[in-house]
């Protein structure tokens, strides 16, 4: 584990207010989800999950075909598809287009994919103004922070934090009423929507048979960003494809329920191409940027490929006992929680944060709530196997493996270990005694207590039976 990861975790654990905020917010999401997937409310829930999993598996297993179909359908509806290998390629495309159109102002709706490639920073660096328009994201952009949670980006901010940010960045003093803060954001952003030349969105789904981009949201900012400016650019990872519009009958029933506990989000936009003849408003230009950025590297290993099924609902974050303690910003990259723990090493390479696949108790809560049934613990184990193991660790496990194969030696080792820790009258062993108090054993017990060994081993009891 890197020092940075370790120190961020400890900082979060020591912040009582933050602990409370994470616990409350994720708890509410958890409860809300449970209510809308309950057997009596949605009896078909498990069948929908199985169908969603089968659809994602099929699409990813034949991704080349669906990418080509999607492209030809977008073009048939008058749009354009741009393939980009990495962050720089996306920024280049947007910058070139902005230059050609004489555009200076870009409105953006929430997109994890654009967070992944630091698009705003890249555009600002070249003199463009790119404004986040989701209420939470707007606040984070003013505060220059990354999203804390896939679905609730400003989960860690209180109204007082927002008041401070507004005072510093907008020179509006002492506004601590959340409704009024939202009204301030609405008014400021309304001007931007009406003046913007380009709207950039992400995509929740790309529909291959329709060449359509599907965007799910609650505020209406994505609708504004994709309806008001003359140019709409949707930026999405290549894994967002689904085969048919009719498959939305499956995915839409799962996404909002898993994310926020709503049967449907307030706005679901199904967009295919620029406005058509006779349509009064909508963009004149429609681009879809398909981003690789490390995704194709995941395809080789069929067991890990399922990481690309993710529909970014955030349910695994809310269910995860680790996320609920260490929060979103402890994670080394934009994707946090269990899904972040499997995406980050695969997109960025294991060296980015070697400790990440180990920051899990493998309890399986994430897999249980995943609407597309990604077996996250299994992928975590796979990634752990990749991690470099030091000599002593390898030796220790070789010794352990040998002991497990030799019952007599195992029993003897057990007795020796038990005799080393005198346990009479002790309820918990809190630190390693004498000879054992070194290196990894000491470190292990520094964070954990161990029950004392029993007076008689199971083998002894069995023999005496």
């Amino acid at each position: 584990m890197s020092l940075e990861f370790d120190s961020k975790i400890h900082k979060t654990l020591a912040d009582a207010r933050l602990q409370q905020a994470i616990y409350t917010a994720t708890g509410r999401f958890k409860d809300a989800r449970l209510k809308v997937v309950a057997q009596d409310v949605l009896p078909e829930y498990q069948e929908l999950r199985a169908q969603a999993n089968a659809l994602k598996k099929h699409t990813i297993d034949h991704l080349d075909h669906y990418l080509e179909q999607f492209q030809s359908q977008v073009e048939a509806h008058g749009g354009k598809v741009v393939f980009c290998q990495d962050a720089a390629a996306v920024a280049d495309f947007v910058l070139t287009l902005a230059k050609e159109r004489g555009a200076r102002l870009i409105v953006k709706s929430k997109s994890m994919t654009t967070e992944e490639i630091d698009l705003n920073e890249r555009l600002e660096h070249h003199g463009l103004e790119a404004v986040e328009t989701d209420f939470g994201e707007y606040i984070l952009q003013l505060a220059r922070e990354r999203p804390y949670h896939i679905v609730a980006p400003a989960l860690h901010k209180t109204r007082y934090d927002v008041a401070e940010i507004f005072e510093q960045r907008l020179h509006i003093a002492n506004e601590t009423v959340i409704e009024k803060q939202a009204a301030i954001a609405r008014a400021a952003l309304r001007e931007k929507f009406l003046a913007a030349d380009i709207g950039i969105s992400g995509a929740n789904f790309l529909v291959a048979d329709s060449g359509a981009v599907v965007i799910v949201e609650n505020e209406g900012n994505a609708r504004l960003a994709t309806s008001a400016p003359r140019t709409h650019i949707a930026i999405a990872g290549i894994e967002k494809l689904i085969p048919r519009a009719q498959d939305l009958a499956t995915f839409l029933k799962l996404l909002a329920r898993s994310a926020t506990g709503q049967p449907l989000s307030v706005y679901t936009s199904f967009l295919s191409g620029p406005r058509r003849e006779g349509e009064i408003d909508g963009p004149d230009e429609f681009y879809v940027v398909l981003l690789d950025n490390g995704r194709t590297r995941l395809l080789e290993n069929p067991a890990r490929r399922q990481s690309l099924y993710c529909i970014r609902c955030g349910a695994c974050l809310n269910a995860c006992p680790v996320y609920r303690k260490i929060g979103g910003h402890s994670f080394p990259w934009v994707y946090s929680g269990p899904i972040g723990a499997i995406l980050t090493p695969q997109f960025m390479g294991a060296a980015h944060e070697p400790g990440l696949p180990f920051a899990s108790s493998l309890c399986g809560a994430c897999a249980e709530v995943c609407p597309v049934k990604i077996d996250i613990p299994k992928v975590l184990l796979e990634l752990r196997a990749d991690a470099p193991h030091n000599r002593w660790e390898s030796l220790a496990f070789r010794v352990f493996a040998w002991l497990m194969r030799h019952p007599r030696a195992y029993e003897l080792a057990g007795r020796v270990a038990a005799s080393l820790v005198s346990s009479e009258g002790v309820r918990w062993i809190r630190s390693a005694p004498g000879l054992l108090n070194f290196g990894p054993i000491r470190a292990w017990l520094a964070e954990r207590d161990l029950p004392p060994p029993p007076a008689h081993t199971f083998r002894e009891l069995w023999r005496r039976r």
Partner: protein, 212 residues
């Protein structure tokens, strides 16, 4: 090699596929349309919209619907869409209502200034309280989006049971429109302290008038 070719090649290499290799059929579409009678659908729609803090009212006749809209409007200014059904109900003739706009810039200015946007809807979904709006010469996108209040007037015959029925009737929305939007309740956010705020970008008030 273009980025497109590079990415497709990497995908194929990873999957062990070759260009043009055939693809088995995807899993069969999972759509189960529930048989729901008209009255149940209307009742469900009204209840769901109310549960979302929207307002839902039933009118027996188009003339009654028009009176309800008049009442909702009060003295506020409004922009109405070009949906023939609104004219049928007489809504477009109400005082303070602008309609018949076909120019984008004009529409954008009118919507940015209006207190209320009045539309019809192509369908409504009973089980979620959702309006389905297809962009067309009759329905622009911004009328249901820019004004702080949205009023929709729809005949009861357009109420579907839910998503499954919608995608049965409209298996390929892209064949008929560049934009299909499902609207489920007023615009909302809970980004700060999970406190619910309505109307953060889209309309914070929504009234649905079901006729028939």
């Amino acid at each position: 090699m273009t980025s497109r070719e590079t990415i497709l090649q990497r995908v194929r290499a990873g999957l062990g596929r070759s260009a043009g290799q055939t693809v088995p059929d995807p899993p069969a579409v999972r759509i189960q349309v529930a048989e729901v009678d008209k009255e149940t659908k209307i009742a469900s729609l009204l209840a769901r919209v109310e549960a979302l803090a929207g307002r839902a009212v039933r009118a027996a006749t188009p003339a009654e619907a028009c009176e309800i809209v008049r009442e909702v409007l009060g003295k506020r200014s409004a922009v109405a869409s070009n949906a023939p059904y609104l004219e049928e109900c007489g809504v477009t003739g109400l005082p303070g209502v602008r309609c018949g706009i076909t120019d984008r810039e004009e529409l954008r200015k009118a919507c940015a200034a209006a207190d209320v946007g009045i539309t019809s809807a192509d369908y409504a979904l009973a089980d979620t309280g959702t309006l389905v709006m297809l962009s067309s010469p009759h329905e622009a996108r911004l009328i249901s989006l820019l004004p702080p209040t949205h009023v929709a007037v729809i005949p009861a015959s357009r109420i579907l049971s839910g998503l499954d029925e919608l995608f049965t009737i409209l298996p390929e929305p892209a064949a008929v429109t560049s934009s299909m939007v499902l609207i489920t309740g007023p615009s909302r956010t809970a980004d700060i302290e999970q406190i619910l705020v309505r109307g953060v970008h889209g309309p914070g008030e929504i009234t649905i008038v079901v006729v028939g």
